[in-house]
Symmetry: C2
Subunit: 278 residues, 2 copies
């Protein structure tokens, strides 16, 4: 009986992993950074090489791929590694911690932290919009000389004509520019994967273990984070009606609640058991 339960458990989990894995995105290093950001972003937090290898195995990564990714992350200054005898431990570097902390609020926000104020700027004729002093990623360029930005207009440079604005009408051509078919599909695909994960989780007979939770959380946050990167921060009306991004946000938050983040100790214990079973 124990064996049957085990197989059934593997089935729901594997199905969820398969749904959440993106064959077009095999960036192991990015998955590892996501995992650190999810489970080990307090200074001093560290994860053993064994735990990372077992976590990788749970989501279908070969140990060699995990090792290569760790090497790359170390070389790029994202993580620091320590050896203790035959064991190794890894943690986010100061830079890694900083970048993770910057990204965290937006990734885990249950409701989007969308700016309440917006402004438009217009540059002089034959003059491109200024970018110095204005993070260009905060502006949506509407035309060569006109851009929409978050926040109040008073922050805009003195040389531009500026207005505080409220969006009234966003026509389909603008929505299509913000959400081209590729982005619409990315969001729709993620929503399907999240729905499948939710279904598998509901049908599973057992409570997911620490390693399973960490693995699913990593995959979910990784996918959601990648979609977020492609989603501009804009007032609601800019997204078309069939935009699945907000449903992805909601279901991501729900799933993360149903899959509580294990403590580092729980993760290490579960990884040790998993390794011994193999």
């Amino acid at each position: 009986v124990a064996k049957v339960e085990n197989i059934s458990e593997l089935t729901w989990f594997d199905t969820a992993v398969q749904a959440l894995s993106d064959p077009q995105d095999l960036r192991v290093w990015s998955l590892i950074v996501t995992c650190f950001g999810d489970i080990a972003q307090t200074p001093g937090d560290q994860i053993s090489g064994v735990a990372l290898t077992e976590l990788g195995a749970a989501i279908g990564l070969r140990s060699e791929a995990v090792r290569v990714a760790l090497h790359r992350l170390r070389k790029d200054g994202w993580i620091e590694s320590l050896r203790e005898g035959r064991a190794s431990f890894h943690r986010l570097s100061t830079k890694g911690l900083r970048e993770t902390h910057e990204a965290t609020p937006r990734i885990y926000a249950r409701t989007p932290e969308r700016p309440q104020a917006w402004h438009l700027i217009c540059s002089e004729e034959n003059t491109d919009l200024p970018v110095t002093g204005v993070p260009p990623q905060n502006y949506l360029q509407l035309t060569r000389r006109v851009a929409l930005g978050a926040g109040k207009a008073r922050q805009a440079p003195d040389e531009v004509l500026s207005f505080d604005v409220c969006v009234e009408n966003v026509p389909a051509w603008m929505q299509a520019r913000i959400c081209p078919p590729g982005l619409l599909n990315t969001a729709r695909d993620l929503l399907e994967a999240l729905i499948e994960t939710d279904r598998q989780l509901s049908q599973s007979q057992s409570v997911p273990g620490a390693l399973q939770r960490a693995a699913l959380r990593t995959l979910i946050v990784h996918r959601w984070r990648r979609l977020l990167l492609k989603m501009p921060e804009l007032p609601d009306g800019f997204f078309p009606d069939d935009w699945a991004g907000e449903s992805c946000r909601n279901l991501t938050a729900e799933l993360l609640e149903r899959l509580p983040c294990p403590s580092l100790a729980e993760l290490e214990t579960a990884a040790g058991h998993s390794r011994n079973r193999r």
Copy 2:
């Protein structure tokens, strides 16, 4: 003594007329329309040919020029003329009354009736702004695809991206576009003429007669109206600090108050006396 007073009166009046006359604008028909709009814009109001001739003489127009202008206005459907024996009477046609009534509020407004709400519209890429259904004179085109309009954004066509806006900053390059040197000078010149008229009026020893009041009012309203035509309706910040337009508006209103509009009967009586004196 009576004679001396008379000369002194002529002097202040002639100086004021000279200050208010624009040598670059000799459109007699436009002066006559202005006069009708000022003194005879109630349906049924009419002015005799004698009164118009005397009024013209007071501001330096030859009777022949007045006759030609009346002919043109009649031909263009602005006025209708009646003959009674040797006398002639003229009045605004239905069209003349309509156009006059349309222009009157803006010309005589003591404070500008500036819209409280403004909106911006942006057309699709490679698409010019729509003009159908949107009176283009109400829009200030900021770029090929972006324009600022009076009123709420909800009135804009569905195919444009639209925003309700509040102006925050208008840089010098935009003010210079709205008020190029020519317009700045036109306003400054008018202000000087109005100040000179005000000075002459204050120094005059006598109360201006009906003909003098009608003549000065016509010249003042004519000049102010021409400036108004060149002034776009825009939020305050769009005008440079040295823009004299608002001072012109205030002084025009003040002078019109100091020079009360004569009744048609007063005008005809004064014209009769003036004609007999000559």
